[in-house]
Structure formats: structure tokens, C-alpha cells
Amino acid sequence: MLKKIIILVFITCFACFNIVFAAESGGMPQLNPEFWISQIFWLIITFGILFIVLTKVILPKISDNLETRKSQILENIETADEQKKESQKKIDEYEKIILDSKIKAKNYFNEAREKILEDINKKRNALEKDLDEEISSVENELSEFRNKSGEKINKIAAETSAELIKELIGEEVNSSSIAAIVDEQAKLNKERKDVV
């Protein structure tokens, strides 16, 4: 770097002090001082105006634009975050509501089921009671009937046997004796049955 600069210095010094006139005539218009002042003058004017307008008018606008964009983007990100949180909240609420309603529906269902089961039980109990009553009454009737049937059979048997005897012998037999015999037979039968 230093070497380069030193060499450059030498070259430029050489150029400045020795070549100026030779080169100008040799065709380097850059070294012709005729318009140097004019070039410096117009450079100062144009660059000065450019610098002033850029500094005072244009660059503040651009930096303003950049700043507002930055802040706007940050703001947008912030609001987006907020909205995200809000939507998350809403989702949670919604899920809670759904869960609640599910539990409620389950409860309703259970209640209804219990009610129905109760009803069914009640009805069944009533029905069973009725049935039991009927069955017991029928059983009573039956047992009564059965109890009575023994006497009736004996009676019928005595009557039929009296008639049979009448037909066979043509004579009337004392009905009470026949009844006694039939009773005895029936007792025997019963005993036999019991033995068996």
C-alpha cells in the first residue's frame, strides 16, 4: 500500500511538473488548463446544489419512509400477535363451550335414561303386583276348588254307585252306607298314593 502510494506520488508529480505541456500538445485534453476553472466552477455549483437538495429534501423523505415502514411493520406484527392471542382465546372458549355442552348433553341423556328406567321399573312393579294378586287369587280359587273337589267326587261316586247298584240289583241301598264305603275307598286310595 505504502509503496503503491509513493510510486503514485512520484508518477503524479512527474505528470504535474514535466508532462503537462508535452502531453497537452501530445493530445491529453485533461491536462489542458483552458477550461479547468470552468470545470471547477460548474462542479462546485452542480455538486453543491445536488448536495443541498439531497440533504434538505430527498434524504429525510427516504429515511422517513424507511422509518415509517419499519414501525408500521413492527406495529402490524404486534397487532398480528395480539389477534393471534385473541383467536387462541376464542378457540379455547369455543372448546370449553363444546366440552360443557357435551357434558350437559350427557347429563340430559343420563337423566332421561334414569327417568325412563324408573318409569319402566314402576310400571313393571305395578304389573308384577297385579299379576301376583291375580295369580294368588287364582291359586286360592284353585286350592278351594281342589279341596271341594274331593267331597264332590265322593258324592258323585256315591250317587253313581247307588244308581249302579240299583240297576244291577234292582234294589235300593242305603245311601249312607254307600257313602261310607266310598269314603273308605277314597281314603285307601289316598293312602296308597301317599305310600307310593
Binding site: 500500500m1 505504502l2 503503491k4 502510494i5 509513493i6 503514485l8 506520488v9 508518477i11 503524479t12 493530445g27 491529453m28 485534453p29 485533461q30 491536462l31 489542458n32 483552458e34 477550461f35 479547468w36 476553472i37 470552468s38 470545470q39 471547477i40 466552477f41 460548474w42 462542479l43 462546485i44 452542480t46 455538486f47 446544489i49 445536488l50 448536495f51 437538495v53 439531497l54 440533504t55 429534501v57 430527498i58 434524504l59 423523505k61 427516504i62 429515511s63 422517513d64 419512509n65 424507511l66 415509517t68 415502514r69 408500521q72 411493520i73
Partner: protein, 244 residues
């Protein structure tokens, strides 16, 4: 005369001769291109700064990208202390860039291919940076010429070299830009001349060279503007943050 590759650098008067006392300050083709470049910068950036939309259009994007580009360049090389000088470096970069780029238009005049223009810019930067340095650090700014950690035996030599290198800054800065622009345009002119003289038979080779050179010269036009601006930043950095 027109086939002379240096002819394109000729400065000539446009319009009447204007004299300020005995000094000639006539409006020349160089002045014309300075005005055109400045106006182009002002128009483009004014249009780019006009609208305030969240999503920028092309011109706005262009101006904002250049703004952030220069701002980043300054921040990287000279730190946050150089912020007050942002608008100057921005104008400088844009002025040099637009002058270089307008020079790439055929038959246009390249303002920055004149040593006097680049030297005035560089001298202004040099003087400004020196004044800033002395204002910030007082006579302590002279420590710039005494690097730390140098053996005392070598110190006189080093100080002399540092002073020479500091004083040669405006020359190196101006000659770098001027020589690059002049050499590139001369080369293009020479190759263009070869195309004409070799004709339709042999002119294709220099023509292809000329096309390649145009691309290279556009790159150089940007690069030299960038180098000019970044060296200004580095000099400014020396003045603002005394490292030695």
C-alpha cells in the same frame, strides 16, 4: 480528428463565453454532463422518495436500496460517529456513479475522466477530513502519523512515510478514478477504431472485445464510484476514531 482516441475527452464551450472578471467560466460539455447527472439523481430520488407506500414500487425500492447500501457502507467502515456525514458521502457516491454511468452512453462526455474534477473532489475530501480530525482531537490528531508499537529507531522514517502517505491521499484518490475512467474509455475508443479499420472481414474480433469491454467498463464505473466513496469513509474513520 475524431479517430483520435483522446478526442472524446476534449472540453469545448457550449453557448456564449461567460467571463467572471478575467476568468473563463463558460458552460462546456463537461458542465452539461455534470448538470445532467445531478438532475438525473435528483429526479430519480425525488420520485423514489415521493410515495409513501408500505410495499415500494421500483423507483422507491431503488432509492431505498441505495440509501441502505450507502448507510451500511458508512456504518461498516466509519462507525456510527460518521452519521452526520451520510448525506455528503451519499451525494458524492451518487454523483461519481452517475457521471461514470452517463459516460458509458456513446458520444457522451465522462466528467470523471478529467483529473481536475476528481482532484477537486478529492482535495475537498482531504481538507474536510483534516479539519474534522483536528477539530475532534486537536493536536492529538498528529498521533495519526505515529503508529504504536514501532521501534524508536524506525520511528523517524515511519513518521515521514506516514506523512507522505497522508498527503498523497488526495492525489491517489483522484488519480485512481480519473485514470480508470480515462483508460477504459480510451481502450473502448481504440477497439472501436480497430473495428472500423479492419472492416467487415477482421472487425469481428475487436467488436467482441469492445462488447466485453463495455460490460467491464460498466462494472468499473460502479466499482470506482464505490471505491471513491469507501475510501472517503476510511479517511473519515481515521479522523473520527483515532486508532493509532
Amino acid at each position: 480528428m475524431a479517430s483520435n482516441p483522446m478526442y472524446q475527452f476534449n472540453v469545448y464551450r457550449i453557448g456564449p463565453e461567460i467571463k467572471l472578471g478575467s476568468v473563463d467560466i463558460s458552460f462546456t460539455n463537461a458542465s452539461l454532463f455534470m448538470v445532467i447527472s445531478s438532475l438525473a439523481i435528483l429526479i430519480i430520488f425525488n420520485l423514489g422518495a415521493k410515495k409513501k407506500t408500505l410495499i415500494p414500487d421500483k423507483l422507491q425500492l431503488l432509492s431505498e436500496l441505495s440509501y441502505t447500501f450507502v448507510a451500511k457502507m458508512i456504518n461498516d467502515t466509519a462507525g456510527s460517529k460518521a452519521k452526520p456525514y451520510f448525506s455528503f458521502i451519499f451525494s458524492l457516491f451518487m454523483f461519481v456513479l452517475f457521471c461514470n454511468m452517463f459516460g458509458m452512453i456513446p458520444y457522451a462526455f465522462t466528467v470523471t475522466s478529467h483529473i481536475i474534477v476528481t482532484f477537486v473532489l478529492a482535495a475537498f475530501i482531504f481538507i474536510g477530513v483534516t479539519i474534522i480530525g483536528f477539530m475532534k482531537h486537536g493536536l492529538g490528531y498528529l498521533k495519526l502519523f505515529v503508529p504504536s508499537g514501532v521501534p524508536i529507531v524506525l520511528l523517524p522514517l515511519i513518521v515521514i512515510i506516514e506523512i507522505i502517505s497522508y498527503l498523497s491521499r488526495p492525489i491517489s484518490l483522484s488519480v485512481r478514478l480519473f485514470a480508470n475512467m480515462m483508460a477504459g474509455h480510451t481502450m473502448m475508443k481504440v477497439f472501436g477504431g480497430f473495428v472500423i479499420s479492419l472492416g467487415i472481414v477482421g472487425g469481428w474480433l475487436p467488436l467482441s472485445f469492445s462488447v466485453a469491454l463495455t460490460g467491464l467498463e460498466i462494472l468499473v464505473a460502479f466499482l470506482q464510484a464505490y471505491v471513491f466513496a469507501i475510501l472517503t469513509c476510511i479517511y473519515l474513520n481515521d479522523a473520527l476514531n483515532l486508532h493509532h
